[in-house]
């Protein structure tokens, strides 16, 4: 057993760090320094910078413009980007529909969509969830019916379509056979967001930023060539998509950065004239969280090495999701506690509180989502109960 990275992996980490020191434009760097919310245009600007460097899709094969990085270097790149506070790219094109098209798409679909996803010329969103469906993806109602002219007509509603307001395309799960068993009558379609009949209503999150949307389909006509995989065979695709790109799921870099932030705030926040970071109680709580993150990081390393050796992702992805999301939440809970009264101010609008880490409050609120999205932690626990512990179903 060995805990060290290979010289090649360490050299790659150095290369990423060196590049990051100069790659971010000043206005993005300033926001990164305080972990401020990035606007869509800034995220896409960063997408194009990463694209020029060849690192925008580290998990894509060279055939489609990826850099051909192995699992370990992909992890290193992700971790360094997170540690630097770089804008998080939208995963829907790069990590979800892109790899899915490589696996299940026609040649025409691949050629039409993949280059534009890579270049950031077309932005995607995900049409999976529906009102009242929650984590039960197969209970969807959005209908796709043939119109007799070789196209399909979509009617219904999707919800939690993150960043749909910025998207050019959406991939949707639709019901194409209402009489089939739940999972058997589902098809996977790609739809242009400019299609007449598709409308989007953004929803403000408790983090104070618009992220989610409701997306409505009223007689929206989608050509048959936008069907991916077989008709009524969409459930296989839906499941495959959920399995893509899981090595970054623990968000170790984000939590590492968040804990550093907690320490930094605690180093400048005084109580009875002494920095909170010197108060044994606070210090111990920060240390405990950092140790929990250390354990997650080691588990993540083990999962990466296992994937590197070609093993299929096993229970570890559910472990990483459960603990990664919980720890990220705890980081911001602790940050808010350290901030005390300052945590009560919302966005520090007039700048009245000097030096306030204003985005902590937003993240504290928004990160409640981490244990819900991507398959709620309760669903992850069901997966482990069934697959690993082999506990009986009800």
């Amino acid at each position: 057993m060995d805990l060290s990275f290979t010289p090649e992996q360490s050299a790659f980490r150095d290369e990423v760090r060196a590049w990051l020191r100069t790659a971010m434009p000043a206005h993005i760097r300033e926001k990164a320094a305080i972990d401020a919310h990035f606007e869509h245009d800034e995220i896409m600007e960063w997408h194009r910078i990463l694209h020029r460097k060849g690192w925008v899709a580290p998990h894509w094969p060279a055939e489609w413009g990826g850099p051909g990085l192995d699992v370990a270097r992909r992890f290193i790149l992700t971790e360094e980007l997170e540690l630097a506070g770089a804008p998080a790219l939208s995963p829907f094109g790069l990590s979800m529909v892109g790899p899915l098209l490589m696996q299940f798409g026609t040649e025409a679909q691949k050629k039409r969509f993949l280059p534009k996803i890579l270049a950031g010329e077309e932005v995607w969103c995900q049409g999976y969830s529906e009102p009242n469906a929650g984590s039960d993806l197969a209970s969807l109602k959005l209908r796709a019916e043939p119109d007799g002219n070789g196209s399909y007509v979509l009617n219904g509603q999707k919800t939690w379509t993150t960043y749909a307001q910025h998207a050019d395309w959406i991939f949707v799960l639709t019901r194409t056979d209402p009489n089939a068993k739940k999972q058997a009558g589902i098809s996977f379609f790609l739809a242009d967001m400019k299609t007449p009949g598709i409308t989007v209503r953004p929803t403000l999150t408790i983090g104070g930023t618009p992220a989610f949307c409701d997306t409505f389909f009223e007689n929206a006509v989608v050509p048959a060539e936008n069907l991916v995989g077989p008709l009524n065979g969409g459930w296989t695709l839906a499941k495959a998509l959920l399995g893509h790109e899981r090595t970054g799921i623990a968000a170790v870099g984000l939590s590492t950065r968040a804990i550093r932030r907690v320490k930094r705030i605690a180093a400048t926040t005084l109580e009875r004239g002494r920095p909170l970071l010197e108060h044994p109680g606070f210090r111990a709580r920060i240390a405990r969280l950092e140790i929990e993150l250390t354990a997650l990081k080691m588990a993540n390393y083990r999962a990466i090495v296992s994937a590197q050796e070609g093993h299929a992702p096993g229970p570890e992805s559910s472990i990483l999701k459960i603990r990664g999301s919980e720890i990220l939440q705890q980081c911001f809970v602790l940050a808010m506690e350290v901030m005390g009264h300052d945590s009560l101010s919302w966005f520090n609008e007039a700048g009245v509180i000097p030096g306030l880490e204003q985005w902590v409050a937003s993240s504290f609120n928004y990160t409640r989502a981490t244990t819900i999205y991507g398959g709620s932690n309760e669903i992850q626990r069901n997966v482990i109960a069934k697959l690993i512990l082999n506990l009986p179903s009800a």
Partner: protein, 387 residues
Amino acid sequence: MDFDLSPDQKLLESTAAAFIRKESPVTRMRALREDSVGWTPEFWKKMADLGWLGLAFPESAGGFGGSFVDVALVIEQLGAGLVPEPFIPSLLAGTAILRAGSPAQHERFLPSLIAGDTSLAFAYAERGSRFDPTWVESTATREGSDYVLRGEKVFVENGQAADAIVVSARTSGGPGDADGISLFVLERGAPGLRVTPVKTMDGRRAAMIGLDGVRVSEASRLGPEGGAAGVLDEIVDLGAAAACAEGVGVMRTVLQMTVDYLRTREQFGVKIGTFQALQHRAVDMFVRTELARSTSIMASIRVADPDPVERRTAISAAKVELAIAGRFVTQQAIQLHGGIGITDEHDVGLYFKRMHVLNVVFGDEEHHLARFSAQPSFTRGIETTAS
């Protein structure tokens, strides 16, 4: 990075697991709860015959030159079977002799330990020291070419039966000073060595060791006078890493025991394992066990790290994670067993109690949290993240 066991390591692990299942079922440990020694020379000899007692020692000292990762594999299985033989105390005392002792001392103590003819104990904790190995109030005063030791050591595992005990005592300075601590190896029956056996809460035996003017020659001192703090720190960390490995064995066993129970026990006409509330508890036990296993692996590797900051950070993190996970997993195991889990006749309580001991020895959660956050690595980098 590489987390795979080598073929030799896999063989060692599976052999140990199979041997302990067959030769030391928990019923053996139960029976030994009533024994004044708490373990048997016969089983100790078998462990030696399997090569386990020599695993940690280099071939030059008569051992098999294993790494601590190898040793930890055996310890994990000892934890899984609640084997009461004094493997860890002998490992620690033997390692102290190996690191600090002279060739004559090696020859005197190591071959007989490796052969399973003797066992050892390691006495560093005192009533006022809690887990700080530098807080030594016991004294070793020079009288001619001899030393006279006075003081008291607490909770010395295997102190009741050891053929020799490695003790720390102060030859100069005061409690808390790193300088001035010396190690001595005291043989069983030395005049003034007062051994008071205690029953421990997990059904084992330990001893309070009184140093009532124990007179020993210079030949009993391990290493240079007053210069033992470094070795002592390493040995205590070795103990912590060993406790982590044993604790992982404990957790894996109670998890399996609990899952088996959930699969078979019926209530309200169904297997209780169908209840989602109970499933999720079991899953969290699994998650915690896996995380503690991850940090235990880290500790096994880092325990030999030449950089003390790297070593302390990793060991303290692993010991804290062990405490969090160990407490949760064993408590939940009892809860999910219901009333039967509270009875002495059920094994789950034995594991629960062993886990508590492992969480305390070589530094509890508070101690290691404080040590972790006192390392220079804890605040490194926080000034620069803003720019």
